[in-house]
């Protein structure tokens, strides 16, 4: 294997894990964009999605495509449910209460999953096998599918936000909640919709995660969620292309740091880069400069 093909392989590795971070980061970004809430339960919604895939495929022997659909539907419903039960009653409460509630929901999901599914990891049969050999570089179908799906999701999401009526409502709510309500936009519906879309993305993320790693465990969402949060902040939280860029940057960074033999420093380097970016450009790579009126 030549150095060039080794570098290309590592870039593909980075893009693949980066795509998953990006998808999760999109969910973070959307929710933050609309109600300024860091939804820490987002990573754990992915975990639930992964278990749905597992049980659908092993206990009910459903075909992979049905399992995927079920996971996306389950995540969407769960996201909307969490929003209704945990966040809606706190809409007028201080933002700190919301943040703490989000952490509580995250713990509830993690520990509930340990209780219901058991603490050990579950092995999910892989449903995308094989790959192509291009010169020295072996490209697995899983990585191709992962990268394509996440880019497609971003395109669809951009279209949804920029071109549809609901998207317009979302942008309006994020700009000024009060004014949007006065203009006849249903606040509850718009916010629920945003949570549902973000969670659907988490569902897609969980399927891609399962394809890549083939294992579901109760705590899988916590580190994934944290990394995706870093990705969202790095790219500029609230910005859709920013979340994508942030995800890819972190995935690539991790792959390259590991490739040069600093694998145990991987997380350290990621968080160090975050600190540097925030020092230089506090709103992230594509973040909007918001001037607070005093």
């Amino acid at each position: 294997m030549s150095l060039i093909s080794q570098i290309i392989s590592q870039l593909v590795n980075g893009l693949q894990s980066g795509s998953i971070y990006a998808l999760v980061a999109l969910g973070y970004s959307m929710v933050y964009g609309i109600i300024l809430l860091l939804n820490f339960a987002h990573g754990d919604i992915i975990m639930i999605g992964a278990y749905v895939v597992f049980y659908a495929m092993t206990s009910f022997s459903l075909p992979p495509l049905v399992a995927v659909l079920l996971a996306v539907i389950a995540c969407t419903l769960l996201g909307a449910l969490i929003e209704k039960v945990a966040y809606t009653p706190l809409r007028s409460a201080p933002r700190l209460s919301l943040l703490i509630t989000a952490i509580g929901v995250s713990f509830l999901l993690e520990n509930g999953a340990q209780l219901v599914f058991g603490a050990g990891a579950k092995n999910v049969p892989s449903f995308i096998d094989g790959g192509v050999q291009i010169g020295d570089v072996y490209l697995s179908y899983v990585s191709v599918v992962t990268i394509l799906v996440s880019v497609a999701s971003m395109v669809v999401l951009t279209f949804l936000v920029q071109k549809t009526k609901l998207g317009k409502a979302m942008r309006a709510v994020s700009e000024d909640m009060g004014a949007a309500q006065l203009m006849g936009i249903s606040l509850n519906r718009t916010i629920s919709f945003t949570f549902a879309v973000g969670s659907a993305l988490a569902g897609i993320g969980s399927v891609l995660y399962i394809c890549a790693y083939g294992q579901a465990s109760p705590t899988m969402g916590s580190m994934l969620g944290l990394k995706a949060f870093v990705a969202a902040v790095l790219g500029g939280i609230g910005s859709i292309p920013g979340a994508m860029i942030g995800g890819f940057v972190i995935g690539l960074l991790e792959a390259l740091v590991t490739a040069v033999g600093l694998s145990t420093w991987k997380d350290g380097v990621v968080f160090a880069v975050l600190i540097v970016v925030l020092l230089v450009k506090p709103t992230g790579i594509l973040g909007r400069q918001i001037t607070e009126k005093v």
Partner: protein, 390 residues
């Protein structure tokens, strides 16, 4: 009232003294039995290990007695439960010492074994543990290469680095010229086995690439790409099962066809990766179920259920080692329980050479760890199949 309390206390004290007296009367060791102590946690949290070891050891002693014992004397087992607690283990030892035992088999867990070893070392009492793997059981300070060793303490199981060396030798046997290790750098077990593997590879002239990862990592593609580029034919992966499953699956996704090797933590790995991905992987174990039908049938006949793991067999071998050493002390005509007798047992144990046990052929190295064969197993169609003792 006070007087009554005093009287009761005094009576209790007198009784307990009397009890002590009875105990030491049993110290008469010149009779026709040889007393051997067994300390095992037969109740409590990890009692499955203690029960397995104790039953294995007692099976050997029963068989030996049926064949006429040692030197015409029967072996009498004095067994106390330590409940997995260090204080109880020390009490159990003190009690069996006053019962007049001449050697101790046990304890089972590492912490209880260490507690007992501290005491037996003071008394120069021969001790063999079936299952405690920590280096500090036989060496006072494992971090100091010139540290004193506990000359009286032996073990029947192998220690962690030994597995790495065995698997490196096995890789050489499989014809490997390039190998790789991928381990969790934050896990003592994985690092101990992995580093020993790499060192042995170097010694054997096998090129070995070492890749590490942080505890909790789920993505190993970058390390695996490096390993693929190194051209490794075998990848040693001595990690916990969840990580092993992730690594093997991701390796196959990357088109890596190299074989995988593992340590004794691999037992049960089939639940964590698909059978095709694992096919042909080798790992070693202290004992492979199914590799010694004679022992397993005898065990099942005695206890009504077959051995479940390696601990029954290790308990059996611990008793075998101890009784074999006692045999040579008996042949010298020494008095059981005397200091010379204990020293003779220890010397004989140390000199053990090529003794056939259930889990392998035993000798001891200079740190009282066994040099013996490991059971090699291979994953075939999702099943763990015994290949050979190597």
């Amino acid at each position: 009232m006070k007087k009554i309390v005093c009287f009761v206390l005094a009576a209790a004290m007198a009784l307990s003294l009397a009890a002590c007296g009875n105990g030491s009367e049993g110290n008469a060791s010149g009779g026709d039995t040889i007393k051997v102590g067994i300390i095992a946690n037969t109740s409590g949290d990890s009692s499955q290990y203690g029960i397995a070891v104790s039953q294995g050891a007692k099976l050997y002693i029963k068989q030996l007695n049926e064949e006429g014992g040692i030197n015409g004397k029967q072996i009498e087992v004095v067994e106390y439960d330590d409940k997995g607690a260090t204080a109880d283990a020390v009490n159990a030892y003190e009690r069996m010492k006053s019962d007049g035992v001449t050697a101790v088999i046990g304890a089972v867990l590492t912490n209880t074994t260490l507690a007992v070893a501290d005491k037996t070392y003071e008394d120069n009492m021969p001790q063999v543990t079936a299952s405690a793997t920590a280096a500090s059981v036989t060496v006072l300070d494992p971090t100091d290469p010139s540290s004193d060793i506990r000359t009286n303490v032996f073990r029947a199981c192998f220690i962690d680095p030994f597995q790495g060396e065995k698997m490196a030798e096995y890789a050489q046997k499989l014809g490997a010229t390039k190998c790789a290790v991928l381990y969790d750098s934050g896990n003592d077990y994985a690092k101990g086995v992995g580093d020993a593997f790499a060192a042995k590879c170097e010694e054997l002239g096998i090129e070995c690439t070492i890749e590490g990862y942080a505890t909790g990592d789920k993505d190993f593609k970058a390390q695996l790409t490096n390993i693929k580029a190194s051209g490794a034919e075998y990848i040693m992966c001595p990690n916990y099962l969840e990580d092993v499953g992730l690594i093997v699956t991701q390796a196959r996704q990357q088109g890596i066809t190299a074989g995988f090797l593992g340590g004794d933590g691999w037992s049960g790995v089939s639940a964590y990766a698909s059978a095709e991905d694992l096919e042909g992987s080798y790992f070693c174990s202290g004992y492979a179920l199914g590799s010694n039908a004679e022992f397993e049938e005898a065990y099942a006949a005695e206890y009504g259920e077959a051995p479940k793991q390696m601990f029954e067999a290790l308990g059996y071998d611990a008793a075998l080692l101890m009784c074999n050493a006692i045999k040579s002390a008996e042949e010298q005509g020494l008095e059981a329980g005397s200091d010379e007798y204990k020293q003779a047992v220890i010397d004989a144990m140390k000199a053990t050479n090529g003794l056939e046990g259930v889990t392998g052929t035993f000798s001891f190295d200079d740190q009282n760890n066994p040099i013996k064969s490991a059971s090699i197993l291979q994953i075939q169609g999702g099943e763990e199949v015994f290949v050979e003792n190597f």
